[in-house]
Symmetry: C2
Subunit: 478 residues, 2 copies
Amino acid sequence: MQTQLIAALQRIVGDNNVLVGDATADYVTDWRQRTHGQALCVVRPGSTQQVAEVVQACAQAQVAIVPQGGNTGLVEGSIPQATGEQVVLSLRRMAAVRAIDPHNMTITVEAGVVLQNLQKTVDEAGFLFPLSLGAEGSCTIGGNLATNAGGTQVVRYGNARDLCLGLEVVTADGQVWEGLHGLRKDNTGYDLRNLFIGSEGTLGIITAATLRMFPQPAAQLTAWTAVASLEAANALLALAHTQLGAALTGFEVMNQQALQLVDKHYPHLRVPMWQQTPFCVLLEASDSESESHARAAFERLLEAAMEQELVVDAIIAENLKQAHDLWHIRESITLAQAAEGVNVKHDVSLPVSRIPAFVAQTDAALQALVPGIRLVNFGHLGDGNLHYNTQAPEGSDAAAFVAQFEDAVGEVVYQAVHQHGGSISAEHGIGALKRDKLPHYKSPVALELMQRIKQALDPQQLLNPHRVLRSRASGGEG
Amino acid sequence: MQTQLIAALQRIVGDNNVLVGDATADYVTDWRQRTHGQALCVVRPGSTQQVAEVVQACAQAQVAIVPQGGNTGLVEGSIPQATGEQVVLSLRRMAAVRAIDPHNMTITVEAGVVLQNLQKTVDEAGFLFPLSLGAEGSCTIGGNLATNAGGTQVVRYGNARDLCLGLEVVTADGQVWEGLHGLRKDNTGYDLRNLFIGSEGTLGIITAATLRMFPQPAAQLTAWTAVASLEAANALLALAHTQLGAALTGFEVMNQQALQLVDKHYPHLRVPMWQQTPFCVLLEASDSESESHARAAFERLLEAAMEQELVVDAIIAENLKQAHDLWHIRESITLAQAAEGVNVKHDVSLPVSRIPAFVAQTDAALQALVPGIRLVNFGHLGDGNLHYNTQAPEGSDAAAFVAQFEDAVGEVVYQAVHQHGGSISAEHGIGALKRDKLPHYKSPVALELMQRIKQALDPQQLLNPHRVLRSRASGGEG
């Protein structure tokens, strides 16, 4: 039976594009190298028609499919289970740019286009594609949409969902929904596009998308400020919204512990101001007019913030190199954490207004749970998105800390998130990693509606089963 | 049985809030006064709990529910069928503002809040709620969300969908999904919010919403320009996107025929420039800095546009009164059309880039079909949304024209829309009016997915049956 399926898949995509055994290694291990699945095979279709035929063949054989883009996800949603019975369907070969429409400010691309290549193509066409995140050199736009990726410019441009106008999707029964269009208004029935976006490959396989392009800003400036508290950071955010309007394209907060780790492991980065206050904020402004206009607006903002005593110290990057260096500090926090040792991470979101209370309460609860625990707290404050991470107490064994406290720390964090009306997954998704946590924090009515939708669109549970939701009528496994 | 249900509903909401007979008149006639339905009764719950109990009672009695807000829809989606067997569930009594969160820039309101009141409340809180449309004095935010309303500022702020972060919904089995939250990032499962938004009351009943507020602009300016062609209008739009960036908040095109009708019926409005060129464009810019800054940017834009010969003539409104007068001309087109006689209307969208070719082709086809037909063409060009309307030839009988040609004209328009990758309903929805047209222009795969979703969330077909989709296992009727 399995041999027959592999033969059928070889007929569809060609022998070279069906991988088995050791050749599947990159496709079955998660990005963090913590979990290893096993695949019946990896199939690499080269066209939407081939994707549809692969799905039909798998449906006939009753074999489950794990759709995969760049395999850079952080919740183990794009690797197969350990059974060796699932087929990984890699979209990476489908990397064509199908169309660019400058007057409509849209680009239509296949799912396997790497995000960085997409940014570059749009840039060369004279526009901006604003989705930007750490894995952009490897992740694919199909995966970005399947997980509704976030990143650093959400405060202005929204999540991946907000950048997408149309989709092409292969359904669980191997039909092609041709929903690719470049329309900004379309009220002809249910919002299938947004249902597939963020469903992590469990409802359909995204094969192509029509995406919004934006005018390129005439100038982009970065500032770095020291603030005394999260309350001050919030007040600075409000002031920036008012004074800069849509020109505010980035607002990142970093606590002292996070910056101390960067300073310790990468002293050449020369982290500014980190010893002055408990928090620093990185701001980015994008201006449609000119650099001098952007700089004047930024200076007015920071002067007002100093007058109101929201900001203790501030610098505006003098040039692109300085701006890049400041962003590089922000982006080095994760690496500095890894250099310090294994750790426990959370990607949560809250109403912006609740963040100070949430952090104060959770910091205290975790200090009570693990005296000396180091709280490495940073994120996209403009979107209410915190990477609320923790590290073993100074000098203690990191691995032992993680083994002993990962679950307990997570529970404290998620309970507090829940209590403050937040989300336990802001931008990473649910996958396998958070699947069994979800029922504790999501309303039973929402979970029931999700189960019914899954049942309606994938009644045979063939698409990425046991991801996001545990499949019904089956226990599933990790 | 019906008497029992009415008694049960009276127990839930009180005798005064169950209307029968003549008292239902306003609730059963569509906004355009063209179609009259009949209701078993109109029930007016005052709380989410009461909505849930009403749905439970109706579900038990197997009686269908038509959810209704301000009943201002244009596609007959919020009135009952003619059978007299359906219950109209009016949300108008649920008009509380539940919370305003300035630091999170969100407001939580019940579904029955009238849009204009919502705008006012947000304005008084020091923010902007940008949804704005003709019926704003009567329509409710619940109805705006159920139909994903558009309006005049979509080019900057998006549709109703894009303004909503969280929902509270009563499901078809009378459960309450408490999805009200003010989160800008939440990747914990399927996008239920966007599934309910735009579903026209056929999947659930929206009882409350958490909405985004925006910083108030420091200044807003309006300009009026004469352009020689739609190609020139498109080039002007591209230039405005580049030079103004997110400050561009309105871009409306109007053809000569539309403006001639306004000039004819409302000469006191003194329509500028309409005899100069085949099209005029109204632009709006919102500035976070100052009026003088906005004016300088607008002047630079219009100078560049004149140099590039995109614009033949232009004025910038000197003050708020002038700006209001210019917008009033744009908003008077529909009334001028009515004053000229009954007519045939279409609310379509296209990729912006395709609009010139679409209009040229469709104008020619309609002139061939009905020599002398008057093409009244205007809309939100920045969103690719045209109100492509037609009027009887000068001097001929309007009613006879509509009776004879409404279907044939619609078919020409929709065929051309379909051919150019557009949508037959940009912002009005499907309701009953376009339901039977939809299958001709929407992909069978999409329709099949929609039917499955309807079946999954409303298996008894109790919520607004035969709207958007014909209910399965039943013929339905208009």
